[in-house]
Subunit: 175 residues, 2 copies
């Protein structure tokens, strides 16, 4: 763990230190913000709601607890999350075939349609984000970011395949 740069470079307004971590942190923040806004404007959804719909599209019919475990959302907050989406008619609680305590949460038809429109908004953000790049540069960036992401997935207990912003922070060690 060598320090790749001197420890205390001057920081002038308008400049950022040439650090991958700083840039990722900043750009990730802004892109998340853009994504949240786009989803709000296009389909009146929050990032977390989008995340649950995405998960349901791929793995529906599971219990709130199972879904919440994947998304790192505790059970008590899953209640309101599912409540809201159910109120919008995008999700439904059906009886669980194996366990009468649990619900089988799944997408409705309206939910699928809304999810498709949400993806369109997300890809518009993608296009906007990559606007400053040549196609070849975008491909290269995708490759490099993918390398970092897969390395992380192999290393620690990262949440698989889930969009950040809807994933809860890991519990702080709180020394």
């Amino acid at each position: 763990m060598t320090t790749p740069r001197p420890p205390h470079p001057p920081v002038r307004p308008g400049e950022l230190p040439p650090s991958v971590a700083f840039l990722l942190s900043r750009l990730g923040y802004e892109v998340s913000r853009d994504m949240g806004r786009a989803l709000h404007d296009a389909v009146d959804l929050e990032l977390r709601q989008f995340g649950l719909l995405r998960l349901l599209a791929d793995a529906g019919g599971r219990s709130q607890r199972a879904l919440g475990e994947t998304l790192r959302i505790p059970p008590n907050r899953m209640v309101a999350l599912v409540d809201d989406l159910e109120g919008k008619g995008l999700v439904e609680r059906r009886i669980h075939p194996d366990d009468r305590r649990a619900y089988a949460v799944s997408l409705t038809e309206a939910g699928s349609a809304t999810l498709a429109r949400a993806y369109q908004a997300a890809f518009a953000v993608e296009a906007d984000t990559c606007g400053p790049l040549e196609p070849a540069e975008r491909t290269r960036l995708l490759d490099l970011l993918g390398k970092l992401a897969t390395a992380r997935m192999e290393r620690d207990d990262a949440v698989p395949g889930v969009h950040p912003g809807l994933v809860e922070p890991e519990p702080e060690p709180e020394s």
Copy 2:
């Protein structure tokens, strides 16, 4: 603003859609988290506190309001922020030469020393983040991310040179 991909790719756990926006969002979130933890462990500082120290190192002696404007932190919250750092002895409120209502906030010597250690922790995160990359890849990634960052700075009212996590979100249009 053409959609570069079909609107609704399947999302399997363990996979992420090949999107720069998704990857930036996720990696930015995780790197910010890592950075926050490293700062907490090394110097018991939060990202926002680190941000203020960084700003003071470059532009100290300014009023809380001026500092808060740069960091997008409203005046009332600047109070607690400066209070905490002053309580740690890292920052001091001195009399403002031009305006007796305002304070001139500046780094103490201990603040400078702590900032240097904070930068060391930050660069350790940098090294850790770039671990999976070859040196040439890291350079290339730095270049591509820098391209996105500068394009954003020119475009909208992004905060100049300030680390995210310590910058407040822009006010939502709230349609």
